[in-house]
């Protein structure tokens, strides 16, 4: 029987590319999205392309109190999770606007923690297996002046996933932390990104599927971000704090 992958935040460009990649490889899908109609249109596309089962549920990560009710409807089916929801506002706007800051923390960290706690409990207590793929970000590796509110929310997620990995692996589960660099998506549409470093969502999705197949712990995509971040992390704070990026 085919496995069911739950995709949280399925309307993001990376999520969509991943949905197609996993469906192509035989996964049934449960899509969780804020915009139900859009997700339904996408579900129809996935069914035609790959002939898999696709279910759609409406859920906004800002309303984390609704989570348990939504989860109830499909909890027994979930074999694996792809957490792809994310929110990035302009740093300057976040500094002034409390709501934007809150939304960043809720969507990128708070909600994912509450959601994954429930799922991890079911994996551990009922299924004795299951995998979780969390899309964090290279921005979470070190807080930069220009993007530290988003970055710190992703740093929190990275740390959470790291701990969760230890817990799940003890009973045969799996946690994969994905750290994309720049990807050409709706989220980055307005940013002037250096062309050579930008990945297409489809490339990111292929990397993620490969990481799943190989059972990796942490994966940077594109691959060279591992080395870029190694250098960035190694910089002394004295110098790092003065760099404008």
């Amino acid at each position: 029987m085919s496995k069911y992958l739950l995709i949280i935040g399925s309307n993001s460009d990376i999520a969509k590319a991943c949905a197609r990649e996993f469906a192509k490889n035989g996964f049934n899908l449960i899509l969780l999205a804020r915009d139900f109609n859009k997700a339904n249109e996408f579900a129809r596309d996935l069914k035609i392309r790959s002939g898999v089962n696709v279910e759609v549920y409406e859920f906004d990560l800002n309303n984390y109190k609704d989570w348990k009710k939504v989860y109830e409807q499909f909890k027994d089916k979930v074999d694996g999770v792809l957490l792809a929801a994310g929110f990035m506002a302009d740093q300057k706007e976040c500094e002034k606007d409390e709501n934007k800051t809150l939304q960043t923390i809720i969507v990128n960290y708070l909600s994912p923690v509450l959601i994954l706690n429930d799922i991890a409990n079911d994996f551990q207590n009922k299924k004795k297996q299951g995998f979780i793929i969390g899309i964090s970000s290279v921005a979470g590796d070190r807080g930069r002046k220009s993007n530290y509110i988003y970055g710190s929310s992703k740093a929190g997620l990275t740390a959470y996933l790291s701990g969760l990995r230890g817990r799940l692996e003890a009973f045969g589960g799996k946690v994969i932390t994905v750290k994309p660099g720049f990807v050409r998506t709706k989220m980055t549409e307005r940013l002037p990104l250096p062309k050579a470093l930008v990945a297409e969502p489809e490339e990111t999705a292929r990397d993620i599927y490969k990481a799943y197949v190989k059972g990796k712990d942490v994966v940077y995509t594109k691959w060279f971000w591992k080395w870029i971040m190694l250098i960035i992390k190694a910089m002394p704070e004295k110098i790092f704090k003065k760099i404008n990026f």
């Binding site: 859009k38 249109e41 596309d45 035609i48 392309r49």
Partner: protein, 433 residues
């Protein structure tokens, strides 16, 4: 919005453009309201400047399948879906594109806007033949449906994206029972033999010929003609192959009179018999060049243009002879010169095909090329022929107009539907389409 350097398949011209992306209908409306002018851009496989402007609308992200009726072979999808994606879905179910050009890496919207044709034009006509319905956002933002017989349909198919943003389309597929094709390869010695061969094998649904443009004197017009039809063996296991890639632009000098002559010589002479029967598959028969990513880079960074003209049938023999002599004399090499027999013209205002023969040649961009092509234009016009907009980056308004008797109908329609010229390309401005 991001500015990017964009180009079409010929890598000429290259321009800086603001790239907007088509994600949903509301976004499309917003963009139309916001810009002075813009042109939809698909997968960048037209050759010239028909999809280029200072602002372009990238339609590739708009790529959902909407409905696939496996029983009757009817498919509905958004305009950004690639033909290759369609094939991946429909071929295993025993269906194929009723009409397909020589590359499957084009969007559904692009296939309609160029009203593309393929090896079966002499039997089955242009892409628009298999289109049941098109959903279009007009330049004023209104969403309408165009069906066969409508003015909007006739203007949109072959209309180079100037009548509105093509959002969705329903197409009818062709039933197949194999991914394999029985192919006959025929070698001819000169132009007369080539024409005879085309007529002799006319009953085959698919045909195309490769012509050696650098052959001289009595060998002018010698060709390798390939015809074929689908087999009936029930094998429908269609899988994509790994591709080769041209990772960088070749130095512009790579292709010159001598290297092309050598290539053509080898290609022609590797086939020994006058008639060879083989079995090809969908990809090797219909899309041989798709096997090599970025093959356009072999012409160097300055790019190339594809010169494609068509002549009415009664004038084809004489006209082609004169044109081939001119090309052979110039020594301007073309790797691929493709000759094809066409069936009757359709009713669409700007569709390229008419009953006759068309020849398509690649020329790398060099200093005196455009003067040379202007000379060819004159000969084409003398014989009542015309130039294909989808391949073009340089033809003059005067030459273009003379080839397209319905241009005034198209212009009147455009004046009605888009008086402010919201949809405009470098090509439409040059030719005052």
């Amino acid at each position: 919005m991001k500015r990017r350097t964009i180009n079409s398949w010929g890598l000429y011209p290259k321009i800086e453009a603001e790239v907007f992306s088509l994600s949903d209908e509301n976004k499309a409306l917003e963009i139309l309201k916001q810009v002075d002018e813009i042109i939809p851009y698909g997968n960048g496989r037209s050759y010239g400047d028909s999809a280029l402007n200072n602002k372009v609308l990238d339609c590739c992200p708009y790529n959902y399948f909407i409905e696939f009726d496996e029983l009757n072979g009817i498919l509905k999808a958004q305009a950004g879906v690639l033909l290759s994606e369609i094939l991946n879905i429909v071929v295993p179910k025993g269906w194929f594109l009723s009409i397909t050009p020589g590359t499957k890496l084009i969007t559904l919207g692009g296939a309609i806007a160029s009203d593309v044709h393929g090896k079966n034009h002499h039997k089955d006509g242009c892409f628009s033949e298999c289109v049941d319905e098109i959903k279009i956002m007009k330049p004023d933002g209104e969403i309408v449906f165009a069906r066969k017989g409508d003015e909007l349909f006739k203007a949109t198919c072959g209309g180079m994206g100037l009548t509105g943003i093509i959002l969705e389309a329903s197409i009818r597929l062709k039933k197949i029972n194999s991914i394999y094709i029985d192919q006959i390869v025929v070698k001819t010695k000169n132009l007369d033999e080539t024409f005879e061969a085309f007529e002799q094998y006319e009953h085959y649904p698919y045909s195309v010929a490769w012509i050696d443009c650098l052959a001289r004197k009595s060998s002018i017009g010698r060709c390798v003609l390939m015809v074929g039809d689908f087999r009936n063996d029930g094998k429908l296991n269609y899988k994509e192959k790994r591709k080769l890639n041209v990772p960088f632009n070749f130095p512009s000098l790579t292709l010159n009179k001598f290297s092309v002559k050598a290539f053509n010589f080898m290609y022609y002479n590797k086939i020994l018999k006058k008639e060879t029967r083989t079995i090809a598959n969908i990809d090797s028969f219909f899309y041989p060049l798709d096997a090599i990513d970025n093959w356009n880079r072999i012409y160097g960074k300055n790019g190339f243009t594809q010169y494609q003209f068509i002549l009415p049938k009664e004038a084809s023999r004489e006209g082609l002879k004169e044109l081939l002599e001119e090309i052979s004399k110039s020594g301007k090499g073309s790797f691929l010169a493709v000759l094809k027999l066409y069936g009757k013209a359709n009713e669409n205002y700007l569709s390229f095909p008419m009953e006759g023969y068309s020849l398509a040649l690649d020329f790398k961009i060099e200093k005196d090329l455009f003067e040379f092509l202007d000379r060819l234009d004159k000969i084409v016009l003398n014989y009542g022929g015309r130039i294909y907009l989808t391949k073009d980056a340089r033809v003059s308004k005067e030459v273009f107009e003379k080839g397209y008797p319905n241009i005034d109908k198209f212009r009147e329609f455009r004046e009605k539907i888009d008086p402010k010229r919201k949809l405009n390309s470098l090509q439409s401005k040059r030719l005052e389409l």
